[in-house]
């Protein structure tokens, strides 16, 4: 794994941001995730791939306790963020989600202005003391999301009036505005055209200098393009987790090979 030839290019950090051990998820009788243990690196993009129903989105949703909102879901095992158990009863899930931001499959801007979409998080979390600070956060977030130049002259326009790709970048700006350390993305490009997809992928690559990014994707090419680490899930199991280059040239598990080469769905 430390072999220079297989080391993911551009991967500098090898510090674990999130450490999951023995994570199991049940939805009622359905055992959706079976004993998943994995270290997710800081300042790197980790891709979760696997066929529908394999548990990848379920696991992603464990990382910011989104599964708390599903009545039938039961999560066991341990997930540490910077060494702290995120399922500790003292942890406020709302605070946790400010630290672990999320971007969804379909761009879902609030029916508000572009400005208010981004300002919403900092406002409810009380991150700013005055309008000037809020303006600065909105601008910085839109810049991080590579959207500022396109919207700076119409911050009062409704967010829903933007194109699909711009809306998704607005959602990324919104997630970034609360100063998160981890960004979770659940198929962030599946509703976008190829150009908008490329822009979001470029953005993901830029974001990894500041965040730990975890992306669930159905496009294996996308996983190959944007991530340094790839985890393959199948039937609720984490089958293989390795450098992305390793997964796509010489995977160790025959199930991984069968999936990425298009032999099992």
């Amino acid at each position: 794994m430390d072999d220079m030839r297989t080391m993911a290019p551009g991967l500098q950090a090898t510090v674990a941001k999130i450490t999951a051990s023995g994570v199991q998820v049940h939805y009622g009788q359905n055992h959706a995730l079976k004993d998943v243990s994995v270290d997710i690196l800081d300042r790197a993009v980790t891709a979760f791939i696997g066929p529908s129903g394999c548990g990848k989105s379920t696991f992603l949703r464990c990382l910011n306790r989104m599964n708390d909102t599903v009545a039938s879901a039961r999560v066991t095992g341990k997930i540490l963020l910077d060494g702290e158990d995120i399922y500790d009863p003292r942890v406020d899930p709302v605070q946790l989600r400010a630290k672990v931001g999320m971007v969804f499959q379909k761009p879902n801007p609030f029916p508000k202005s572009i400005y208010d979409n981004v300002a919403y998080g900092p406002k409810i979390h009380g991150l700013t003391r005055n309008k000037g600070e809020l303006d600065a956060i909105v601008e910085a977030s839109l810049r991080k999301a590579a959207l500022w130049n396109e919207v700076k002259d119409r911050l009062d326009a409704p967010g829903t009036g933007l194109s699909g790709g711009q809306q998704q970048r607005l959602c990324i700006a919104r997630a970034v505005a609360t100063g998160p350390e981890v960004l979770l993305m659940d198929e962030p490009c599946s509703a976008l055209d190829p150009i908008a997809t490329a822009q979001v992928e470029e953005l993901i690559d830029e974001l990894r200098s500041q965040f730990s990014v975890v992306i669930v994707t159905h496009s294996m090419q996308q996983a190959a393009r944007v991530s340094q680490k790839t985890a393959f899930f199948h039937l609720g199991n984490l089958v293989e987790y390795a450098d992305t280059a390793q997964i796509f040239t010489n995977p160790k598990d025959p199930r991984t090979e069968a999936y990425i080469t298009g032999r099992i769905g």
Binding site: Q221, F248, T249, N250, E257, A258, T261, G262, R263
Partner: protein, 233 residues
């Protein structure tokens, strides 16, 4: 991988590329054996045929290259599929070079037919060619069967080829010292022997591609080199 792709056209494309490389291997083997026989029997017509036949081998490499480019662009192969495409390209390149050596051998046969004969030389060269062609055949068999053991065996046999080449080298040296009139033909014969020895290296390269295809890693450089003709260099 023995299971089929969900997309059967992908399987068809991969199989077509591999079938082409195997057919190309057959042409190269024949060219080498014919060229060595033409040299040994001073068969000018056969040498001529080998020279003309090289165009077909070159065209096959082009065809394989085009198909592999399409596979990479259109199918986005990964893992074992990717290694299959990469090895097909490398093997086709090794075969194309081997075909060039057969052609060169045939050309020199024409030149040599105008010169005095060097006793025993063409027989030694033909034996060397047979050994090398057998390595090539086995390397391609190993490729078809994904047989790492056979591929390893081919790699080991390159040592024998090096030894045969060394003894031919000494044989020619003796001839040239004993009778300076043989210097001209011996120079040509030596190039021929060296070229056939190079085909052995290409057969070894094919065998190494088999190992890479199956294991995902190239074999380490532990192959013994016994070409003593360059020992003093």
């Amino acid at each position: 991988m023995n299971t089929a792709h969900i997309l059967t056209a992908f399987d068809r494309d991969l199989e077509a590329a591999q079938a082409l490389v195997v057919r190309m291997g057959g042409l190269v083997e024949t060219a080498l054996l014919d060229a060595a026989e033409a040299l040994d029997t001073r068969d000018e017509e056969m040498a001529q045929r080998v020279r003309k036949g090289d165009a077909a081998i070159d065209a096959m490499e082009e065809e394989i290259h085009t198909r592999c480019a399409q596979l990479l662009a259109l199918r986005g192969p990964t893992a074992g599929d990717l290694r299959t495409v990469l090895t097909v390209m490398r093997i086709a390149a090794a075969l194309e070079r081997s075909g060039d050596y057969a052609k060169n051998l045939a050309k020199r046969t024409t030149v040599l037919s105008q010169m005095i004969q060097v006793p025993g030389a063409s027989g030694s060269i033909r034996r060397l060619a047979r050994t090398v062609v057998q390595m090539l055949t086995d390397a391609l068999d190993a490729y078809i069967r994904r047989d790492v053991t056979l591929a390893e065996d081919v790699r080991r046999r390159d040592r024998d080829v090096d030894q045969m080449y060394n003894s031919i080298f000494r044989e020619f040296l003796t001839h040239m010292m004993e009778d300076p009139r043989t210097i001209g033909p011996c120079m040509h014969l030596h190039f021929i022997a060296k070229n056939i020895e190079r085909v052995g290296d290409h057969a070894t390269a094919v065998a190494e591609q088999v190992i890479y295809l199956v294991t995902g890693a190239m074999p380490g450089d532990d192959r013994p080199k016994v070409d003593s003709t360059t020992a003093g260099l």
